[in-house]
């Protein structure tokens, strides 16, 4: 049960929960320091919150199926109608700036 710091947003989290389940971190929004609600000003920026730069999203890509312990994805069958399972590398939605283990 390791503790990590996200290099994109600075949030810290455990990758495994107390019940043994996996936890998938995804960067959240941060307050917009350049927030300026006055539309008459040249630096007008109505956004109260903005997304982090290059956010990290550790959720697995949709459609993964594990066959014999190896990740696969359903792809169109190359000869017949329907789909087939093709091996693929395990991937998350977005790597972002990575993460650093702190415990």
């Amino acid at each position: 049960m390791a503790k990590w710091r996200c290099n994109s947003c600075g949030g810290t989290y455990f990758d495994v929960q107390r019940d043994g389940g996996a936890y998938f971190h995804a960067c959240g929004a941060i307050p917009n320091q350049a927030y300026q609600p006055n539309p008459t000003l040249p630096n007008h920026d109505p956004r109260t919150h903005i997304e982090v730069d290059n956010p990290r999203d550790e959720r697995p890509i949709p459609g993964l199926i594990y066959l014999d312990g190896k990740p696969h994805k359903q792809v169109p069958h190359f000869e017949e109608r329907g789909t087939m399972l093709a091996p693929c590398d395990f991937a998350i939605m977005a790597e972002g700036k990575g993460r650093t283990q702190i415990e």
Partner: protein, 306 residues
Amino acid sequence: MATDAERNRGLGAYSTPGVDPKFDPTAPFQFAATSPEVTFHTKQVQPPAFVYIGREDKLDVGIWSAVPNETVNFVLRIMRPDGVVIANAYSFQVTSTRTVNAFLQELTEGFLLSMTARGSGTVFIGQTFVRASLKRGALAGPLFTQEFIANYLTAVHPLMWPGGEVLRPVDGPGAPRSVTGTTPAAGAEISETVPATVRWRLRGFRFVLTTAVAVANRETAFQIDDGANVVSVTPSGFTQAASLSHGYTFGLGSTVIQASAGVQHIAPTTDIILAPGYRMRTLSTALQAADQYSFVQYQVEEWNEQ
């Protein structure tokens, strides 16, 4: 005193020699009760099952589990073509949690009489969903010919065919789950995203806000969006000044309570089913750069969404 006619009723000690017929112990027993109306074949009986496993048929098993390294044990009773009934046992171990783990198992030819599936480490209903069907061809091929079981199981409550239920993963109660969320960096909001393969129903969400020395009146709200559009915003209704540490709870069915000591605030949250990609976030007013959210903990009811 008994007459000769009374003494001569039946056989035995009171029978009169030369009058009553002699007792014959070899005579066949004559059953005098009523015979049953229905009779049964005991030879050349047809198999009591309608599923025949051919040589090209295989058992297709899909397991989605939130329990790490969960093993699901199957036992199949099959009547071979020679009439012998055998029990085959198979074990399938989950490699990756909250993802479909697929298995294709060769089977013995014959009539399938029964099937059971039991978990090894699953405690709560809703943690492990198992689907088993008869298939012809490759694992990803479309030739499903018979669905046997599709339901959640535990180590104590197995699934069975025939007689079991075929359900969707989102039917029935979900599994309770307590999640420790990400502690955001100073000055950042809390943000929790629903994973891709689950459906959540939020029961309660709690966190602590520790404000820095910078003077400002912060106000916290709890927001739920679908990844792009906001669907619910619940303000706490409380303003937190500088240099304080207050706990906030947004609970299903709660009413607004502001503790007189100012350390715990409770507000209701909306009863929303959270699909994959939905987000639960804080929405703060006047949040300062050194303010810190921490101790993010929430309880959800979880279902498999695949």
